[in-house]
Amino acid sequence: MSVAAAGWLQAGLLVFALAVTYRPLGDYMAHILSSARHWRVEKGLYRLMGVDADADQTWPVYIRSVLAISVVGVLLLYAILRLQDHLMLSLGMPAMQANLAYNTASSFVTNTNWQNYAGESALGYTAQFAGLAVQNFVSAAVGIAVVATLIRGFTRTQTDRVGNFWVDLTRLIVRLMLPFSIVFGIVLIAAGIPQELASHLATVHTLTGGSGPLYTGATASQEVIKELGTNGGGIFNANSAHPFENPNGFTNWLEIYLLLCIGFSLPRTFGKMVGSHRQGYVIAGVMGVIWAGSAATMTWMEERHWGSALAVAGSSMNGKEVRFGIPGSALFATSTTLTSTGAVDSMHDSYSALGGGTAIFDMMLGEIAPGGTGSGLYGMLILAIVTVFIAGLMVGRTPEYLGKKIRPAEMKYAALYILATPSVALIFSGIAMASTSARNSMNNSGPHGFSEVLYAFTSMANNNGSAFAGLNGNTDFWNTTGGIAMTLGRFLPMVFVLALAGSLARQRHTPASVGTLKTHTPLFAGLLTGVVFIVVGLTYFPALALGPLAEGLK
């Protein structure tokens, strides 16, 4: 079978699998987020946490709870990384230096998983398990919890209550993340990913008489939640390119599925909760079209391998693994940058200019197709609100979405949301380009060097975590500004989403009239897609022109 045919079938099987799980997974998540019954084990956990599971929270209390657990999470993770040399099962790894530990703690709590360290030579088991993996679960659940409040903003009327954060968080971990991780983690072990503690440093005696340690790690348990929770932080520096994280074509495909499945099923959750499955189909459809377009573009760019070095190589295989080839690498790259995952199975820095540029553009879209767990859907719903508003301006009516009026207050929150992340990404990129020491971190020069910087802050502000990895991020400048960028890029948008949810929930329901724009039609899907590209294009085009476009169109 030709490479192209296999590539199409591989992508087709992925779409099929996502379509099959759309309904059951989406309905299950809707059940988790709206059921009145607590599981017995959850009641026990609520007692341990000392929270009242039946108290509904206002939006300010809800966001403060989000921030509280995030602050605690950063401090705890920072302590673990700084004190690693005193903890058991640390494999003799030293304590992490202060600015790197700050960066790493911010990174994992914000679901970014940007890594300025190499896992195999920096972190032992305790830091990986009790530190990083915990945040992989918690940060992923926080994202879904926040989008749940926005959906409740549409479904509830004349109330100031948007849900209970502790209940949402606990249920998402206990009922969704944990069981899925166990099941798919076992599949990954069976497929070849290591999971062991005892012989972590088996000595390998090679054919040529050399010998060396083999770091295997308890990789599978981290790998599965790294993808499922759209986290992306690898046990190994090479991330999912490493054969222990991703040994074969099957695991590559499954990892792509895992990092997409929650994001693509959440529109069903949304449709179910607002009582119209077609509303969910529209959102999922827009996500799917953008994803498919990006996957096709990136695969094409990589197959064509424009670039002077790639022309001599005869392919864009530099930085890619033979066992995945171009189709498997491009499919992974497009999926990881359109979600907030940031795992990589090939080195994006070495992609063709426009292939790598597509990865940057994917992140600039705000990671909404389908986006990170929860964060993708709330990003898309904000854009849907903007779309309704723009359409309302055209016909001169007060815009409505799902029976809620989009008034100045709602539009302010939506506009602030739209502005927050690009501001962080572009301002920090500008600061970096003005700093000689920051520029010294580049691995390449010219437009590609600028692309490394732009990629870095776009990735961090959007909580993606992948990199043009030639950039040396482990410096005072990058560790510090990166930590700030990731924190702002995560929590500023969340505050605006919660404020919007609160504002919507207080409204009464406005019945649809003949003048109401129908938001469950292909027309609306088209409008929404257009708005996505116009908003992002206008925001980022100048920056893109200096980096990937300048290099690619040379």
Binding site: R64, G319, G325
Partner: protein, 250 residues
Amino acid sequence: MSRLPGAVLRHLAAIRAMLVFTVITGIAYPLVMTGIGQAAFHNQADGSLITNGSGQAIASKLLCQTYVNPSSAEAALNKKDGVTGYADPIDKYFQSRPTYSTDPALGRYTIQLANGCTYTATGSNNLGPNNDNLTELITLMRANMAAFDSTDTTTVTAAQVATDAVTESGSDVEPYITPLNADQQAARIAQTRGITLTQVKALIQANTTGRDIGILGEPGVNTTTLNIALDKQYPSNNTSTTAFQTGATS
């Protein structure tokens, strides 16, 4: 307790929640997974190790190994110390993909085969698609492989060299090469070991993995298992190497 301000209560709850989830997802979960993995899929869970007759681990079938000897002039540099790894390939082994690393003394990337397959430092060169340094190394590597793979009876031109033989993998520990690359190296292996091309090709065939379920991924030849099989079936005392241009002097 309820007299405390809401903010304090909330942070106390957050601390308790973090501890609860640390115990569940950070301690219990990985331990349970390790237990299941070790019990049900022992070989995979341990890293797919290959052992020799005396039970000593000689490889993980998922990771590549370097088959190089440092050239005499550069012997002192070949320490896999993360500084430089100049070395020449051993003729009788299939070579996995090349490694391009920085030479701090030169301030640029060079061909450093001994730095490949370093399990404690994975990752690629991250050179861009229009990078002149990369262009130079790929050109050198084409010439290297053409000379390396040409034998008394077969000629491989620089233009014919398989693309994966001149590009670094993403992880730099990948054992797989393309079937085209393996076929190209086959004549050299046969000549060095004094066996027939057919015998080599049969072993290549036996160590080739196709696409999973016919469509997932790309076919690859596992150099780690292939070289182990070669040494087992057709042992050879030949230790000849071929001098490679490294780009360090040009």
